[in-house]
């Protein structure tokens, strides 16, 4: 029979532990990822490869955002590149201003403004560039701008109950608009070339090997932190409401919830995660261009998530790493074949592994491991038997 303590929330420390990791298995999986990111990669990879890995990890931010809003809340966004770009451009604008001090731009007709503005006959810094003179303000904007953007772009749709495929297509058209906007405003945002030639962050040269290594660590730690925050959100009642509305929208409405606000919240949350990834991308790669925020990269990001497992935060990280690593490896070796392989991978995942790599682990590998070691601990849930019963979430 039930005792009250079975279901009541425990003391603060234990509650936090349960919320962040669920059980021992969750802790092990998280520590494993932390060890891989913070020890294995830095020890095994040279600086060039490590920097590449750091770049892939930036996409992992977007992927965990998609796990939150697509996997757990059923809101498929094909426009996450937009928020990745918002974060990336914020950071790039700050770095560009720092790189455009009057001395190093003395040969320009207007010294002290970014070089591409000078080439485009812009003679003074546009007003919206001013906030990026301040580092704290830039950091704040990396969080605020994507959230405001996501809010404005989704509030009317979610109010009008636009979801599923229609919403996905709308997000895609938004990202296309943003691409044209950046390309069309060459004088303000650097056009198709993007914002290039970024050098220092508050006087610290980000192009050196040691800086890239440091940035890799910062990126990994931030990612692990974001995973924990996301875990926490999913473990609250809000997480369960989102999961519930994904499958039974009407039931949740008739339990007295205003779903519009919940959907806006999770969409904004995913947007902010993407923006953090974008900002880290700019720092590690040293430039930002519209081709990193367009339709194609936005769809790539969905593929990373699908490959990793759209319901698994850790899976999404592995998905982003695996697909990008494969992309680099194959496109170096067989450039023409890569796109076909890429497409085939996606089709195979959608058809046979709807839960991605995480599902492969949960449903097959875990069973196999427990078979080898029959003394399984009772903390883990029995493997679910509903493999075939996959519900299509994008209605």
């Amino acid at each position: 029979m039930n005792t009250l303590s079975n279901h009541t929330d425990s003391s603060f420390g234990k509650l936090l532990y349960e919320r962040l990791f669920k059980n021992k298995e969750g802790v092990i999986a998280f520590i494993l990822l932390a060890v891989v990111l913070l020890l294995v990669f830095p020890l095994c990879l040279n600086t060039f490869r490590l920097n590449l890995t750091g770049k892939y990890l930036c996409y992992a931010f977007v992927a965990i955002g998609l796990v939150m809003c697509w996997g757990n809340a059923g809101i498929l966004s094909l426009g996450q590149g937009m928020f990745f770009g918002a974060g990336g451009y914020c950071m790039a604008m700050f770095l560009k201003l720092e790189a455009s001090d009057p001395e190093s731009t003395a040969i320009q007709s207007t010294p002290g403004i970014p070089d591409f503005m000078d080439w485009n006959q812009v003679t003074e810094l546009p007003w919206f560039w001013f906030p990026f003179k301040s580092f704290p303000l830039t950091i704040a904007l990396i969080f605020i701008l994507p959230a405001v953007l996501a809010f404005l772009l989704s509030v009317f749709y979610f109010k009008g109950r636009v979801t599923g495929v229609v919403f996905a297509i709308l997000t895609q058209s938004m990202v296309a608009c943003l691409w044209y906007f950046i390309v069309g405003n060459q004088g303000f945002f650097g056009g198709i070339n993007g914002i290039t030639d970024l050098r220092t962050l508050n006087g610290w040269d980000i192009r050196t090997e040691s800086a890239q290594k440091t940035l890799y660590y910062v990126c990994s730690i931030l990612l692990l932190f974001c995973i924990l925050v996301s875990r926490y959100v999913l473990s609250t009642r809000l997480g369960r409401v989102l999961l519930a509305q994904r499958d039974k929208e009407m039931r949740v409405r008739f339990s007295g919830y205003n779903l519009t606000l919940f959907r806006i919240f999770i969409f904004c949350f995913a947007a902010v995660l993407s923006a953090i990834g974008g900002a880290m991308f700019t720092l590690q790669v040293g430039f930002m261009s519209p081709n990193l925020v367009g339709i194609q990269p936005s769809i790539d990001m969905v593929i990373f998530t699908a490959v990793g497992g759209r319901e698994s935060l850790l899976g999404a990280v592995y998905g982003a790493l695996a697909v990008n690593a494969a992309k680099t490896a194959f496109s170096e070796a067989y450039p023409t074949l890569w796109m076909f392989l890429y497409g085939a991978t996606f089709i195979i995942i959608v058809l046979y592994l709807p839960k991605g790599l995480a599902g492969l682990y949960d449903d097959h590998i875990k069973k196999w491991i427990f078979k080898l070691k029959p003394k399984s601990d009772s903390g883990t849930t029995p493997p679910s038997e509903d493999l075939e019963k996959e519900v299509p979430y994008a209605k």
């Binding site: 009250l4 009642r237 039974k248 009407m250 039931r251 008739f254 007295g256 205003n258």
Partner: protein, 248 residues
């Protein structure tokens, strides 16, 4: 403007038309506090549409629905729920991926905003209430079971339980015993009679034996209009009602 009444629910002149087809046509219906009302009628009579209209799922073309003298026709679903109207769907509508406990917990009427749900904690009060309801709906030893593993009848009970956790004053049930075994039906009838002590209930049902078992008042709906209102015996022996049910 309709005047204030003592009724819990006062529906007056309610009409909804879908592309000219009037699914509910000038319907007037009053429900007292503490009443258990069953709405019956052949397929396509507009029974479910009436529930949709009351709960805000469908918008009325004209007419008024007043609940405790508040107009519901202009409110959104969640506002209507918060005002005290609970609704169960025709096919059991539960969250399959969550446990029975979590299913009930989502309906708990506290922390239904974004911030509230982020801060929501399972206090003893919440858990006690959920245990209490779980016991009422015969699921108290299945709280940690995944909802998708329940039998069809248990899913129906679970959804009724989700309504009870909300503690509404008006409960609306769309075919609550559909797909249940005879034994489950009897248990459900008992459950509903118990619930009805504290609140008003509107039930849509096809199963006449079940209706006879629970109903105080029966309303027969046909082609969006009320054909007959009265006790089960009166309704059963009414020639017009017989005609509608058996005539074709």
């Amino acid at each position: 403007m309709p005047s204030n009444t003592d009724f819990l629910l006062a529906i007056e002149g309610l009409t909804v038309s879908f592309d000219g087809f009037k699914a509910v046509d000038d319907l007037t219906l009053y429900l007292s506090k503490g009443e258990l009302r069953v709405i019956i009628g052949p397929n396509g009579a507009g029974k479910t549409t009436v529930l949709d209209l009351i709960s805000g799922k469908t918008r009325a073309t004209s007419g008024s629905i007043r609940y405790n003298n508040t107009e519901l026709t202009t409110m959104s679903e969640h506002q209507i729920v918060r005002a005290g109207v609970g609704r169960k769907f025709q096919t059991p509508s539960i969250y399959e991926k969550l446990t029975v406990f979590e299913n009930l917990e989502i309906s708990y009427p506290w922390g239904r905003t974004v911030l509230g749900s982020l801060q929501f904690r399972r206090s003893e009060k919440v858990v006690e209430r959920i245990y209490e309801v779980a016991k009422e709906i015969f699921l108290d030893d299945m709280l940690d079971e995944q909802a998708e593993l329940l039998s069809h009848g248990q899913k129906q009970w679970l959804e009724i339980g989700m309504l009870l956790v909300q503690n509404p004053d008006l409960v609306m049930l769309d075919e609550p015993v559909a797909g249940m075994t005879a034994k489950e039906r009897d248990a459900t009838a008992e459950l509903l009679r118990k619930i009805a002590k504290e609140r008003s209930i509107v039930i849509i049902e096809h199963d006449m034996d079940f209706v006879a078992k629970i109903a105080d008042q029966v309303t027969v709906l046909h082609l969006g209009k009320i054909l007959k209102e009265g006790s089960m015996d009166e309704v059963r022996n009414d020639p017009e009602v017989q005609e509608v049910y058996l005539g074709h």
